[in-house]
Point group: C2
DNA sequence: ATTAGCACTCTTTCTCTTTGAGTGCTAACA
DNA sequence: TGTTAGCACTCAAAGAGAAAGAGTGCTAAT
């Protein structure tokens, strides 16, 4: 059976009706649409065909139709019109991303929170391990007795830091010297190339202060690996409570249990693998069985072309794909813009000129 | 009417039964307890008295009794026995607090998460603004083009940092010079004493590099105020889904709405004011009407006597006060211990000797 | 002072019925 | 031949009793 234009229009109308109402859609309500001047009986015939094609389903014999995963897929891939944001919405979103310059993690968290607020859906944010980041500069700074701070900056301008609590007190000049040594040996390597063996090489390259150096080097190594670790979080999870899909506490609990587990989240995102473009996973397409009643829209953001992280929206299968996709692409683009401007290489900064609104 | 020993025993039994079962407690189930060798009819008479005294209530005529807020208060203040943790529990808790040395905020978040996991209840953590913290050292370190890091350590050993994204590039020596100037002028002040006017004094005290200095000083001021800001968070909020008190999504939503609002949380904690000791707020004693069906147990933690923050457990009125209070006091004590050892002044570090397990 | 006994109350649970939305099919129509 | 009106049918959801069960308060006996 062919999916002719009329069937496409009917399917689109049903999906959109269901997205709005969360109620199975009957033939009568579709027949009322002026753009389809057809009787309910005709719609029923068409609906029967669409059901046979696997695009619609009935919860029970005497109910209206609900889109199947295939139905949503068809809608997302070829029926849905791209949502054009209004000027007011764009302004609102722009405000949400016009944040003060600050740490990468904080920016991403702020953006996720803003986006979650705007969409009314939970937002997943991920900052992957920056294994591929090439170390530009490593610094150890004394900040207090027994305490130093390790600061690592990479070529794409991302800066991470961590406190080192030492067993011995060190002098400022020792910290400077250490910084110099670390830099000489580690700059230019990727973070994943820094391992305990090249740290030990550094140690043995130096004669004096052997005892202190050993433990400091170990701490630095530990700190580097920790800095490098992947971060993943969910913001606005409680937004799902608004949906009739989650009117039972058991369903809420099930979703919360899955999404509060970092491993699950990580698996979800890795398998979605949206490294180049926005991806939409619907229902059973989700890598986790527990999420088969949900959908995920996920997109990458970058700093100067390098992949920095991912931002995703999770919600019921019945989410407003058109709006969510447009919004997400806007947000990741804005985020990439901010990151490229703030964290990007010198060249890119210069290209941008000095038009800086801070 | 006097609250004699028998009434006290009965009240205690009812409260504990209700804490376990979440069901109104009938006279029969109490009369079965061997320590109270009484018939159900006698218990009924006593229950009637306890109800008249405002310590118990009936959901409806033919239901068992439920403790009122007054009943819980009586239980917490003078009936409940202090829960003694088992060696296994202590070990489990100790493991949860034997964290690596790291940033204050991360330690507190980790402890809150661990405690939430152990109690199965949401845990509120707060790091108040460190207005009273006396600045020991301020440092500005160049980390990348257009980027510096501000690091502030205070007398009790707490270290905070923030990136500064500059409009101009600065040299390392400029950063060092700036650090020196900031230190000379600001060390010894409390953080709340650092305001825009003494920053401007610093600026005018220096002649050269005027233009750059102005914007850097402004950024530093901004960063200091931000560093100083209060932090507040809730961990394990979804734990409440386990309780029959939250079997309806509306109730869950109401609680989530309140607890996801930082201002509410802040109000809650400020009014609870547990600056010296553990406090228990029950039902209507809560400063927020929306929380009148919940209770809060909250306690401070310190580093070398100075108040650092608060840790609280929130849950249904029917929470196991005895266990929660013991657990919370254990955790805040552990936390204070870690903070005093890791972040405390030099003297305290020395007192502790070098028995350091890192 | 305590307790057994009993009538009474009120929620919870179950079953049965009704209602209503929606379908599929048939036959008539353009 | 595609479209539509009409109608019998299905099934979930809502409502109305009825029965069960837990628990009380009161009275009278111990």
């Amino acid at each position: 059976m062919a999916l002719d234009d009329r069937k496409r229009l009917i399917l689109q109308a049903i999906v959109e009706d269901y997205i709005n109402s969360a109620e199975p859609v009957g033939s009568r309500s579709i027949s009322k649409k002026p753009e389809l001047n057809l009787s309910a009986a005709t719609i029923r015939n068409e609906m029967g065909d669409l059901e046979e094609m696997g695009l619609l389903a009935q919860p029970h014999t005497s109910a209206g139709r609900v889109p199947t995963t295939g139905g949503y897929r068809m809608y997302v891939d070829s029926l849905m019109e791209r949502y054009e944001m209004t000027a007011a919405e764009i302004e609102k979103m722009r405000q949400a991303t016009s944040m003060k310059k600050q740490e990468l993690e904080k920016i991403v968290r702020d953006v996720a929170a803003a986006f979650s607020g705007i969409t009314g859906l939970p937002v997943i944010g991920m900052l992957p391990a920056s294994e591929a980041g090439i170390v530009k500069n490593i610094k150890v700074v004394k900040v207090d007795d027994y305490t130093a701070m390790l600061i690592v900056s990479d070529k794409s301008g991302i800066i991470k830091n961590r406190l080192l609590k030492l067993n011995q007190d060190i002098s400022e000049s020792f910290a400077d010297e250490l910084s110099k040594i670390l830099n000489q040996n580690l700059a230019g390597l990727t973070i994943s190339e820094i391992n305990i063996s090249n740290m030990m090489e550094i140690r043995s390259a130096i004669g004096h202060n052997f005892e202190i150096l050993t433990s400091v080097i170990e701490l630095v190594h530990e700190a580097v690996s920790e800095i490098d670790s992947k971060q993943i979080f969910v913001d606005g999870l409680s937004n799902i409570l608004r949906f009739p899909e989650y009117s039972s506490v058991d369903k809420v609990k099930e979703l919360f249990d899955v999404l509060e587990n970092k491993e699950n989240l990580s698996k979800l995102i890795v398998e979605a693998n949206p490294t180049n473009c926005t991806k939409v996973l619907i229902g059973e397409e989700m890598p986790l069985d527990e999420l088969k009643n949900n959908s995920l829209v996920i997109a990458p953001y970058r700093a100067s072309e390098r992949l920095i992280g991912l931002l995703g929206v999770i919600g019921p299968k019945r989410m407003d794909y058109s709006r969510i996709i447009s919004g997400l692409e806007f947000f990741t683009a804005q985020l990439s813009g901010v990151l490229t401007k703030d964290f990007g290489t010198r060249q890119i900064l210069l290209e941008m000129g000095k038009g800086d609104e801070t």
